[in-house]
């Protein structure tokens, strides 16, 4: 253990860090938790089981699930092409992968509306449909799986694949039996982050989905509408459900990712 920074400096440093974290994040989150059960568990339960709340949660969860599956496939594919393929402009494409992280979500929604909205230059109008939710979520979660898989693929021992080929395995078999098992932990980890992001996403949905209750209103948008109509308990109750879903998913995906890694120590 290093004594380099001195005991008093250490205590002061972590004291400041924990206080800051509490004021900015932990206390407000605790307030949401308490508000959701302010009227007792019954109130909480009736708040999260109103038809509109249930519908919005269902829409969010189903859309997020679809998004995670698409991401797992296309994220891995994009990572593969970026690592193993060579083509002009590859570096630029590689940098652009992070654009959804850097671009404000409201702008993301607006750009999608331009191409997939009523004025679409190619005549595809997905605005105000459930497909538009999936589309927006795909946009904002694009980097997660790609960025999780890429480094693993870069580090992957090519000799392992060559060994498999020398033993007679075809390209598809090598991918399925050698490469994919090694990528699985990263795919799962990236998918977990994508899911957590998807269930909470708000900005990119505002303009393109139309926020039609029971049809295209996602949970985050529902919470927003409850805040606007001065129903903090209802908003807090659904918030808690959303938060729990995100945390549980992160835990489960983290567990699967670790389990898949267990042979590699």
């Amino acid at each position: 253990m290093s004594r380099a920074f001195g005991i008093s400096g250490d205590v002061l440093g972590r004291g400041v860090a924990m206080t800051y974290l509490s004021i900015v994040a932990l206390i407000p989150l605790a307030a949401v938790l308490l508000e959701s059960v302010d009227g007792g568990l019954d109130t909480f339960w009736s708040a999260v089981t109103t038809e509109q709340a249930v519908a919005s949660l269902k829409i969010t969860l189903i859309a997020s699930l679809i998004v995670v599956l698409v991401n797992a496939v296309f994220g891995t594919l994009i990572a593969w092409v970026l690592v193993r393929d060579e083509f002009p402009g590859k570096n630029i494409v590689n940098s652009l992968i992070d654009l959804p992280f850097a671009l404000p979500t409201i702008v993301a929604g607006l750009t999608l509306l331009l191409f997939y909205g009523p004025d679409s230059p190619v005549g595809i109008n997905l605005a105000f449909t459930r497909a538009s939710i999936v589309l927006a979520l795909l946009f904002v979660t694009l980097p997660f799986v790609v960025r999780a898989v890429q480094p693993v693929l870069l580090e992957l021992d090519r000799e392992m694949e060559q060994a498999a080929e020398s033993l007679g395995a075809g390209k598809a078999t090598v991918f399925r039996r050698i490469v994919l098992p090694n990528l699985t932990p990263a795919i799962i980890a990236g998918a977990g982050l994508a899911f957590a992001r998807a269930v909470g996403e708000f900005g990119s949905l505002v303009l393109i989905t139309g926020n039609i209750p029971f049809k295209t209103q996602a949970a985050s948008v529902f919470i927003f509408s409850q805040v606007e109509s001065d129903n903090p308990i209802g908003a807090a109750a659904v918030s808690v459900v959303l938060l729990l879903v995100a945390l549980v998913v992160l835990l489960i995906f983290g567990w699967f990712s670790k389990r898949a890694l267990r042979h590699e120590e």
Binding site: M1, S2, R3, G6
Partner: protein, 317 residues
């Protein structure tokens, strides 16, 4: 300055790194802490430097109790195994670091840095970055950095451990000469007995957190206090249940008093040295270290029956 370690113990969880260790290091001496990894030698060095706090016991530097002092105030120079070079500073800035902390004047620092870089043969490298140096050069830079502040004691943790064999050999001889020049009390850690014997005046053998023996290289080789030390500091062969250095066994082609019969299994030529592997009458096997001249003189051959004689007292353990 002398270093005195008094009954120092240190545990990491269940692992006992140092078990009631006491040690005297004479002013101006060059001492090696020798032992297998996990034996406690690095921990002892770090306790002396103040980088680890002992659970019990005291450390005295130049007669004064330093146990409660932080590393900043112990006036020790410490050289890390992996150099701990400040990567974002030039060689000169690295060496000047301790002096600038002590707020010495600019000119004094420059003069001292020049002097030290000459001492470690790095003049001309002052404005390079550590990443532009070889391993041996980085290690010399680390040494210059430690010496710049004129520490009361110099501590080196496996100083040559990360270098390749040739550079190691060069640096060993160089460290010895440097010590003769600078005359600062020096303690270094190594797991290489040859290195310890070649460089140090005094060797401290540590194993499982205990000091097994303290002595000159010759003492350790010729009068090891136990089997562990004997095995650790040199080659060993077993003859009639006794431990002996393999070059202290003579091979005879005729039996005399006190010899034991053996059959040659294999003769391995290692240049001038020849290693003869034998089976003894009781089914045990042993080996003898001899010379090419001897083998040719006696016309030894595999399969031949010979007689072995002890030519030095075996170690009683």
């Amino acid at each position: 300055m002398s270093i005195v370690v008094e009954s120092v113990s240190k545990r990491f969880g269940d692992f006992v790194a140092l078990n009631d260790v006491s040690l005297n290091v004479r002013d101006g001496s060059l001492t090696a802490l020798l032992g297998p990894s996990g034996g406690g030698k690095s921990t002892l060095l770090r306790v002396i430097a103040g980088l680890e706090q002992p659970d019990s016991g005291r450390v005295l530097i130049a007669g004064e109790d330093a146990t409660a002092k932080p590393p900043q105030r112990r006036d020790v120079g410490f050289v890390f195994q992996h150099y701990a070079a400040f990567k974002h500073m030039t060689v000169a800035k690295n060496v000047a670091f301790g002096l600038s902390i002590r707020k010495r004047g600019k000119e004094e620092i420059e003069a001292r840095v020049d002097e030290l870089l000459k001492l470690v043969h790095l003049d001309g490298f002052a404005h390079r970055y550590p990443s532009q140096l070889s391993g041996g050069q980085r290690q010399r830079m680390a040494l210059a950095r430690a010496l710049a502040v004129q520490p009361r004691v110099l501590l080196l943790d496996e100083p040559f451990g990360a270098l390749d064999a040739t550079v190691r050999k060069e640096l060993r001889a160089w460290l010895r000469r440097l010590h003769d020049e600078v005359q600062v009390t020096t303690v270094f850690v190594t797991h290489d007995q040859e290195e310890a014997m070649e460089v140090a005046e005094q060797i401290v053998v540590l194993n499982h957190g205990d000091i097994e023996q303290v002595g000159t290289p010759r003492d350790l080789y010729e009068k090891p206090s136990n089997e562990f030390v004997m095995r650790f500091v040199g080659p060993v062969s077993e003859l009639s249940g006794r431990w002996i250095r393999p070059h202290d066994v003579g091979i005879l082609v005729e039996p005399t008093d006190g010899t034991s019969e053996a059959q040659i299994d294999r003769i391995v030529h290692l240049g001038f040295e020849v290693r003869v592997e034998l089976s003894l009458g009781d089914g045990d096997s042993t080996w003898v270290q001899t010379t090419r001249t001897m083998v040719e003189e006696l016309e030894l051959a595999e399969g031949q029956i010979v007689w072995l004689r002890l030519e030095a007292e075996p170690v009683s353990v």
